[in-house]
Each structure stands twice: as C-alpha cells, then as structure tokens.
C-alpha cells in the first residue's frame, strides 16, 4: 500500500466519522426537551415559525433536508441570532482557534520542557518537586481554576483583563501591532487556564515516555559508543519518546475543544464554544449541529495530522514503494 492510497483511505474514513457525528448530534438535539421558541413568545407566532423552519416535519424529513442543504454548503439559519449560521461561525471560529492554538502551544512547550528536564534529573530534588507540582495542577478542575485566575490576576492584581478578546474602543479590529499585543494580552488568562492542566499532564506523560526509552538497549549502545549524556537524552531518547508524544498530540484536540466551551463562557471570549453553549440553551438546532460539525472535523483532522506526523517520525511506519523487496537477509 502506498502513501497516497493510505491517505485516501484515511480521508474517506474521516469524512464518515464526521458524518456519523453530525447525524448523532442532529438526532440528539431534536430529541432533547424544550423548543426553540422562548416562553414569552405568542404561541401563534411560535406555531408559525415552527412551520416556517420546517420543525413540524418528522425528524427523518428534517434530517434529509438538512443533508441536502449541507451538500450545497448551506448550514441553515440560526433561530436565535436571526442570521445565517455560516456568518456566525466565520465570526467566532477564529477566536476559538486562537485560544485553542495558544493553549496547545503553552501546553506542549511547557509540558515537553518540564518532562525532559525531569527525566534528565530523575528522582532528584527538581524531579520530585516538579512531579508533585504537576500532579497538583493536573488535579485542578478547570471550572475552579478559571475563576481563581480571574480573581487573582484579573481582579486583585489587575495584570490582565477580566474578559473579552480585545479592547473595544481602541481595537475593535486587530489592524495594528498595538492591537496584536492587545489580543495576546487578552489571551493570557484564558489560554493559561485552558493549557496549564494539559501542560501538567503532558509533563508527566513525557517524563514517563523518556524514562521508558532510557532503559532500552539502544540507549546502552549509545553510551557504550561514548556518546555524551546530554546527546543521549536529546538525540537518542527524545527522538524515540517523541513518537508517543505525537500520539498524545492527536488526542489533545477533543480536550481543548470541550475545555474551550467552559473557558470561553467564563472569560467572555467570543468564540465558537460560547456560541455552541448559548445555542444548546436556546435549542438553536442549526448552530448546535454546525458546531458539532466544526468540532468533529477539527478532532478528526488532528488525529489524521498526528498519524501523518508519526509516519514521518517513525521510519518503521514509513510506507516504502517496495517495502518487502527491500529487506536484506544475512
């Protein structure tokens, strides 16, 4: 099997997974109790709107209509926002990507660094201190950590803004260097909240991965060759430990996206998570389904990306044109 065929297979499987997710979400949100009409709306208006949006039809019909629209690239109209879902997503998705991206970088840079540092000093004081610290942070629930950080660094110390993504007066749009800095400044608290727990997990994971590699025979071989200890850790061990790290990278996306819903809500970050959260409360079916579509696409794409990266990083997984004919026998 060549790389192209493999990629094609994975892409087809990925589309199938996304399709399954939106089907599931579509059925689930329609089965949930409650209606898109708010309580103080005139019942006659509600009936009219229900008919207008086709919500009086059987769910199978609605589902079919949704798929036909989706195939035409139409995500439908939002009930509560009274505008196309697509427009709402275009506005909010970049914010979520900025938040999740910043959290991801924070998570992996800090986590990787700590894990490698700890593994190089295993069972010595820095390792023990960091080991307990990361376990503590890893145990913190985000819904508790977010308001605490907000209270301490936003309210008491006033170092960072307490909410929002930018200064509404000077930077309604990010169009200057000052506004980029302003955006980053607004990002610090939410991205830290979203990333720090993951970073603690990554550090623990990476330390274990490094130590597992440290006891391998080939590390002893490197030592027997006279390779300096630093090079053994950074070349021979890290390169192998990165393989399991890439897998973890692929698994991080679902946690980042679910975490984003909470963090965006608490920090008033105008992203897709908050949009989805509001949509669930108001039974805004098209927005909920579209959010699920975006989220599942990101998760599936993340996993695909991890697999592709792994293919490059691990020569044993590399697909050779004539792999079998290549094996040399003694």
């Amino acid at each position: 099997m060549t790389g192209g065929v493999w990629l094609l297979r994975r892409l087809v499987a990925s589309v199938a997974i996304v399709f399954a997710v939106i089907t599931f979400i579509f059925i689930l949100i329609h089965l949930a109790p409650g209606k898109p009409c708010s309580e103080n709306l005139d019942p006659r208006v509600c009936t009219l709107l229900t008919r207008q949006f086709g919500l009086d039809q059987p769910i199978a019909v609605q589902y079919w209509r949704y798929l036909v629209e989706l195939a035409h690239g139409n995500l439908g109209m939002s009930f509560s926002l009274r505008r196309p879902v697509w427009d709402a997503l275009v506005e909010t998705v970049p914010f979520t990507l900025q938040l999740a991206g910043a959290a991801l970088v924070f998570d992996f840079l800090l986590g990787l660094g700590l894990g490698i540092y700890q593994a190089a000093r295993v069972n010595r004081l820095p390792d023990l201190v960091l080991g307990n610290a990361t376990l503590f942070i890893y145990s913190l629930p985000t819904f508790w950590l977010a308001p605490i950080l907000l209270l301490v660094f936003g309210e008491k110390l006033g170092w960072f803004p307490v909410g929002g993504a930018s200064d509404p007066i000077f930077c309604p749009q990010v169009d200057s260097l000052y506004c980029v800095a302003d955006r980053l400044w607004h990002l610090v608290l939410p991205a830290t909240t979203l990333g720090v727990v993951g970073a603690a997990g990554t550090a623990r994971f990476q330390r274990a991965a490094m130590l597992e590699v440290a006891s391998q025979d080939y590390v002893r071989t490197a030592r027997a060759k006279g390779v300096p200890e630093r090079q053994i850790v950074l070349r021979h061990q890290l390169r192998n430990a990165l393989l399991s790290f890439i897998t973890r990278f692929g698994l991080a996306f679902p946690f980042l996206l679910t975490g984003a819903v909470l963090v965006e809500t608490i920090f008033a970050w105008p992203g897709m998570g908050r949009l989805a959260f509001d949509a669930i409360l108001t039974r805004d079916y098209p927005v909920v389904t579209a959010s699920a579509l975006i989220a599942s696409t990101v998760v599936v794409a993340g996993n695909l990306l991890a697999d592709i990266l792994l293919g490059f990083a691990d020569p044993r997984l590399r697909v050779h044109a004539a792999a079998d004919a290549d094996v040399v026998t003694a």
Partner: protein, 335 residues
Amino acid sequence: MSVLLRVRDLKTYFVTEHGKGTARAVDDVSFDLYPGETLGIVGESGCGKTVTSLSILRLVPEPPGHILPGSLIEFEGRNLLALSAPELRAVRGNQIAMIFQEPMTSLNPVFTVGDQIAEAAIIHQHLSRRAARVRAIEMLRLVGIPDPDERVDDYPHQLSGGMRQRVMIAMALICHPKVLIADEPTTALDVTIQAQILELLDRLQHELGMAVLLITHDLGVVAGHADRVVVMYAGRVVETATTEALFEHPTHPYTEGLLAAVPRIDAPRARLHAIPGQVPAATAWPPGCRFHPRCPYAWEKCVAQEPPLLETRNEAGHTARCWLVTEPERRAPKR
C-alpha cells in the same frame, strides 16, 4: 607480553528492592586480557558474565548496581574505575568497544544504520558528517554487507538479525578499538548465521589486531574461537586455562559438568548430562565452595571453606577454585 586489560577483585553488587539484600552478581573476579588474543568467559545464565562485561565500561545501571571500591579495571595502565566521565567517554567506543546480545533492540529504530555507525567516528575522531558517512560505508563493506552504499541509508528494521549484528560490529569497530567486548554476540541468531558472525569476528580480529573478550554460555563457541577461557560460576571465577587445556583436563567439577552437557555428534545417543540443581540466588550464595550443593564430589571441607584459585599440575596458568586440586584422590563420584 604486557597486559592490555587487567581486571582485579572486581565486585559489582546490586541493591535489591524490598530489603531482600544485596545481589553479589560479580564477586571478586580477576583476569587478564593480552593484546590480540581472544579470552572467552563462559558460564550459565546468572553466573555474572554479562555484569562483568558491562562493568568494564561502567555500563551497569547505577542505582541499583554499583562497583565496589577496591575493584580495579586497568586498561593500558589506567584504572577505568577512577576516570572522570569525559575521560571514560573517550575510552568507550574508541579504545574499548562493545557489541551486545540482541541486535534487534540494541540499534536505535529511528536512525539509519549509517548514522549510528558514523556517530562514534564523529565523536572520537572528529570527522565531518560526510567523511564519517564514507567511513561507515567502508565499515559496512568490511563486515560483509552487500551494496553498502545503499544499505547505509537503511533503518534497522529493514535488515535481518544477522545483518543487524554485522551493523553492530561495524559500529563497534569504526574507531579501531584495542579491545572488543562481545557479550553473547550470536545467542539471538540462527545457527548458520552464528557461524558466519563468529568467522567475521575472527577475520576482523586478525585484520585489525584487537583483543576480544568473548562472553558466551556456549562451549562450542569457546572451543572454536577463544585462546584462553575463564569459567565463571555464582559470581566467581572457578577455572582459567588455555582452551586446549580446559577441554583436555577440565579440573573444576562445574567445568566437567558443562563439558559433559555438550551434545556430541559422534557419541552414542543417550540422555544429555545435566548438572543437578540450579544456580543459587545471587542474594544468598552458599557458604564454602559456592558449587558444593551441586557437586558430585563435595565433602565436608567444601562446605566449611571456600577454596582459592589453585594452580593445577596440568600447565602454567591453569587454575581452578577447587579442593580437588589438593586432594585429587577424592575425584570419584559418591553414590
């Protein structure tokens, strides 16, 4: 001839967990290695031969292992145990190199064999990457790998077991070391491949003039490839002799048992001899002679007092750690 590698009173102990005590894996081992010779170290699993070989380059993982003070590993007049880390690194892979039992796991899966062979030349001889690659290809050719220009870019998983061991040998020899430690180099390979690898080692030893410390449990390997033999049992050297003398006049009952356990193609078909019992645990060696619970000749003295290495009457340098040397008339099986 002057000694190249002198090992004296080597003690490598392991601290076991859960307070089961100290495993005295290597306990007072001494031997000499002369330039250009092949010294075989034989013994069954758990006798301490691998730990001995790892101790020479200080590759025993610490903790749990540690080499006790008072041990001496002298290479060209320098005590390796007293070297600083950079000094030791300059010896490793450069003057003393090592190959291991498992060519499958001893090569790093994510680097090409060429990179791994070249690494030692870059470190020790400060070659450029390009020059080291040329050297790596030369080494691959030397160890008999076909199409070395192409194989140099292969990853270990693309090669068979025998080829990987050849790569290990190429890697070990790229800096022309004076000593090659080969720890069970053929145990993981098919019999036909074993013979090829051992022949290769013989040829390279001849061409490069290095000394080989050949660790094995296989007396057949020793018979064909070693000049002298050290037999180890329970962390101790129990017999040393030239290969010829050892096979003609095995003196220690353990050596006798090992030789009797080798299947012979010309002997009538019979049940293979086995030494009764097992190697005792390294945390609790028996008192007196460590072999006495399994020895067919043992008497009271063997339980009470451990014999030193005694010079036998066969030839100079043939020693055995056995009271039979002083009381040969007792060499008659009980029963």
